[in-house]
Subunit: 252 residues, 2 copies
């Protein structure tokens, strides 16, 4: 069924617009994604796609929507109103957040993220964790909201591919310690060159804030802390670059 | 000498504002940088800092300006007017582009960049190239302008640390071929796993556009093309992540 909407005052439009805020997303358990590629990924990986929002004149018959779904045709003005990009694509969807299935952490490769605040960094890190085949990503305190539009865009769909959950990193690391999964922190000082560490079947990598790195209290709980040598004049690497280098090294 | 300016109609202000465009930057050979950290880096690495622009009330006495330099004190309104960020820092500077000293390409590690269009990606790639100790970066056709504000911010100052120049990549690769420096392209298909390649003392790495990768005509000129295996469901890695992984591997 297709419903046509022409007014930005329509209650649906108001609701979609509100999904730009974290508060509303958490209240409703819903979030908005934009663009054909992300919607395809959501449908392909059986994310719960609740509503499709299509700008008039946009072709979407190639989307394999599957189950019956509410479709809204809207004006260009409405699409601009609800989008958080300057040049919105012609299609958006309302998705439901979903719980993640339990994972066996004794045999998993985990990425723990402490206080990463830049949406592009967080999204790119999730995309990289997906590419390298990590089993789950744990978002600790202070991380930018996963359902922020720019985070979602930067994941390029990877948020639909791997389990991502909020968690208390202190508790997670202690749990991993108990069951003997090695946890590697990242630090610029008092750490070991990452190349000294052999690739591992199971491990957790802990990365941290853009300016301050990983919380020093968390670094005390790890098995080892790693650094990537800097050969030039740069003071440090971007956190998403460092994460990529370390994950591909540890994964072997 | 300190000149105070209170009007956005002042010719200096108009000139600074114009430096937001590539056309004006190329015409004058000047570009604007913002923030204490970047200005410190520019001064430390002897970039040509022509004018310092300080918002009234901003402390800058700790900056080691060295040579006499023109200093302008401006209102908050003016600083907002000339800045390309939403929350400008209290200090900016006009710098001169400079030519780069000749490098001995027979004994160099070079990064060739084809058509990378996202400013954050280009800046982060340059920062990474600096960190890993590359000798120079060559920007091929289609790359976003190096002096774009977001590129400069993302380099975190690395644009002052290593030679970066525009170049014809076709010519560069052929020149490297002649003198026997191995050139590695990057490709998703028909390429070798990067781990098969041993670290090298001298090499050139060629990376490319976010959506389309490296131009296929350039890939035909390389000694080998490399890929990074994808173990999960992601279709690819972000170009700056891939560059980081490959550079740290090839550098050894």
């Amino acid at each position: 069924m297709i419903t046509r909407i022409e007014s930005t005052q329509n209650p649906h439009v108001k609701q979609w617009k509100k999904l730009q805020t974290k508060k509303e997303r958490n209240k409703t358990g819903l979030f908005l994604i934009e663009g054909t590629h992300l919607i395809e990924e959501a449908l392909k990986y059986k994310a719960y796609v609740k509503e499709l929002i299509v700008r008039e004149g946009t072709e979407y018959s190639l989307l394999d929507v599957g189950d019956p779904i509410e479709i809204f045709e809207v004006t260009e003005e409405i699409m601009k109103h609800i989008s958080d990009t300057e040049t919105p694509q012609g299609i958006a969807a309302v998705c439901g957040m979903k719980g993640t299935a339990p994972i066996n952490i004794a045999t998993a490769k985990l990425l723990l993220i402490d206080n990463v605040q830049d949406p592009g960094n967080l999204g790119t890190i999730i995309r990289t964790a997906d590419a390298v085949g990590m089993d789950a990503v744990i978002l600790g305190e202070g991380c930018v909201d996963l359902y922020n539009g720019k985070v979602i865009r930067s994941t390029q769909g990877s948020l639909f591919h791997i389990p991502i959950m909020d968690g208390n990193l202190d508790v997670w690391i202690k749990r991993l310690n108990v069951i003997g999964v090695p946890v590697y922190g990242t630090a610029l000082e008092g750490a070991r060159n990452f190349k000294e560490i052999e690739p591992q079947k199971h491990f957790a990598l802990l990365v941290g804030n853009e300016g301050n790195g990983v919380d020093s209290n968390l670094l005390k709980l790890t098995d080892d802390n790693l650094y990537i040598p800097i050969y030039g004049q740069a003071e440090s690497l971007n956190v998403s670059i460092a994460t990529g280098i370390l994950l591909y090294h540890l994964r072997g």
